[in-house]
């Protein structure tokens, strides 16, 4: 036992020496210091936001940086119950409804974009013919060519195509093949052997069965990551729902509009911070659960030339 503990101790001290030995490299020292400073600013910002959200109004005025003198959880209850977005028809949409809107908007768009793009990428990668090669070229073309569309024209056109202020039509509009996810999905499917599909075809499976029951399950982790990243992106987006979905404001839109709130009870910085903490919580939790899968697992292939 003593021998075993001795070996463990030696391994630990070797690992510590190896860790410190990396600092012989000046690049590592400089970058490490910069990273530490940057990390401190990020952590301090989050600590400041969280601690402010737990302070009373007077506590915040007298004590801007320190820990709360008293935990004022009622800021969260106030934010949940009192903060609202006022629509053009004078209807008020409170935070719970904003959260629901965010969930519907983000989930729907993430689902539609991820899976429609993945299906197109799958077909382009596995069914090589003139048509699919052409579609692949169109994607590259759309990615590279700078077409600047005007915000005003987009708003007008969204009204003409019935997508303005219509969540179902917005979902439909996003069934496509030309998003950045296409290239990531394409690269993912490129790693899959077609022999799985060939075996299934021999057993009598059709194209749909092969795609949905064999190939997609094999890439469910990258697809899930793409879905989650898309969900987080749409949850955090305030501009598009603000412009194109005025009667269905999301939590991010709420955060944008809350800063103009003149209600005494909710215009205080601690309550606004409490609302901010509530809004960022779902994505933060998702990220912390899936962080190991997210980082290092996605690659964007097929971009040469």
């Amino acid at each position: 036992m003593n021998n075993f503990e001795g070996i463990k101790k030696k391994e630990r001290s070797r690992a510590i020496k190896k860790w410190f030995a990396q600092f012989k490299n000046p690049f590592v020292i400089v970058v490490f210091i910069i990273f530490v400073v940057y990390s401190v600013t990020l952590i301090f910002a989050l600590y400041w936001g969280f601690s402010t959200s737990l302070k009373s109004r007077s506590d915040f005025v007298l004590n801007k940086f320190g820990l709360p003198n008293e935990l004022y959880v009622s800021n969260y209850i106030l934010a949940w119950k009192r903060l609202y977005v006022q629509l053009s028809n004078m209807k008020r949409v409170y935070l719970p409804r904003l959260f629901l809107n965010s969930f519907i908007y983000s989930f729907g768009l993430a689902f539609v974009q991820t899976f429609s793009t993945a299906m197109c990428a799958y077909v382009c990668n596995k069914y090589k013919n003139k048509f699919t090669s052409f579609m692949y070229s169109v994607v590259i073309f759309m990615t590279v060519i700078p077409i600047v569309t005007s915000l005003g024209a987009n708003i007008r056109y969204s009204r003409l195509t019935f997508t303005y202020d219509n969540i179902l039509m917005i979902f439909y509009q996003n069934i496509g093949f030309y998003t950045g996810n296409f290239l990531v999905s394409y690269a993912t499917f490129a790693t899959l052997s077609w022999s799985y599909a060939e075996s299934a075809f021999i057993d009598g499976a059709g194209n749909w069965s092969v795609m949905l029951k064999i190939m997609f399950p094999l890439v469910k982790v990258p697809l899930l990551i793409l879905f989650v990243l898309s969900f987080i992106g749409h949850w955090n987006d305030y501009f598009n729902p603000l412009i194109y979905l005025p009667s269905m404001p999301t939590a991010a839109v709420g955060l944008f509009k809350f800063q103009d709130s003149t209600l005494t009870s909710v215009s205080s910085v601690p309550v606004q911070m409490a609302a901010s903490m509530l809004v960022c919580l779902p994505c933060l939790i998702l990220f912390l659960i899936l962080k190991d899968k997210m980082i290092g697992n996605l690659t964007m292939g097929g971009l040469k030339g």
Binding site: Q22, F35, L42, T132, I145, S150, Y178, S276
Partner: protein
Amino acid sequence: MAKKQTLRTRKKKEYLFIACIFFIPILNFFIFNIGGLFNTITLGFQGYSQSRGYYWNNFANFKFIVKDIMANPVILIGLKNSLLFYVVHLIMLFVGLIVAYYIYKKFPGSKFFKVLFVMPGMVTGMVWVRLFKYFVQQAVPLLFGLDYGLLTDIDTIIPTLIGYGVWVGFAGGLIIFVGTMSGISEELIEAGRLDGNNMLKEFWYIVFPHVYPIVQVNLVVGVIGLFMDGPPLYDFYGTEAPHESVYSFNYYLKIMVLKSNAGDAEYALNSAYSLIITLIVAPLTYLARYLTTKFGPSED
């Protein structure tokens, strides 16, 4: 014969399958992308009045824009600020590459930094805006004895917003860069090490060529940033930025459409601006693609 029929049937099913998958995406592409582009182009050549509605005014919008650029200093200031942010954006692209390389090499603290640095992208941008805004408006004046917050004093707004952009964009592209670097074969790295590669050589001759396609896409697609980059003024101020000297060109175009008294006439002018930008940026994008392909590294 039976085998030929089976093959023919299978091919028919395959084409039907491909058609089903692509039918709605292609339809949407024509309706929303091509249609949207057509709408922008046609709107750029139209004017609007209450009595006539939309009407063709040929190049009147473009003539107005040329006069506006000559007479309105806000546009040139906006272009200058957009260019400034574009340069910052380019610098941050390469900073992101260095951050990703550090994480990929698993240098000290990389596991912790990897998680922390991706967090700004996971949290709603408005939260960071809030945190940053309250900090520079309330805490910084208190700490340094200033009379105004950094976002109130016109002289400090642009540098402060550059600071914000650097702060939230420090590890931009981390996920995709690290993912791509992770695909580099260990044998290649080992072979380089045996040939006497130090860290710099390894990065320059092995890692950078591997991630160069992504860098190239960012550089090429990012040319549009010459006009469309800029400080996140709308996030911080809505349509009420404190002074025109802090406008970016993108913000100028945005508030043209979003201010409370904007209407269809502004939509048409906005479209004309977009067409001019596209005409300028399109050849620049091709030039960027040509230069980055000619002078960039290759994996070979």
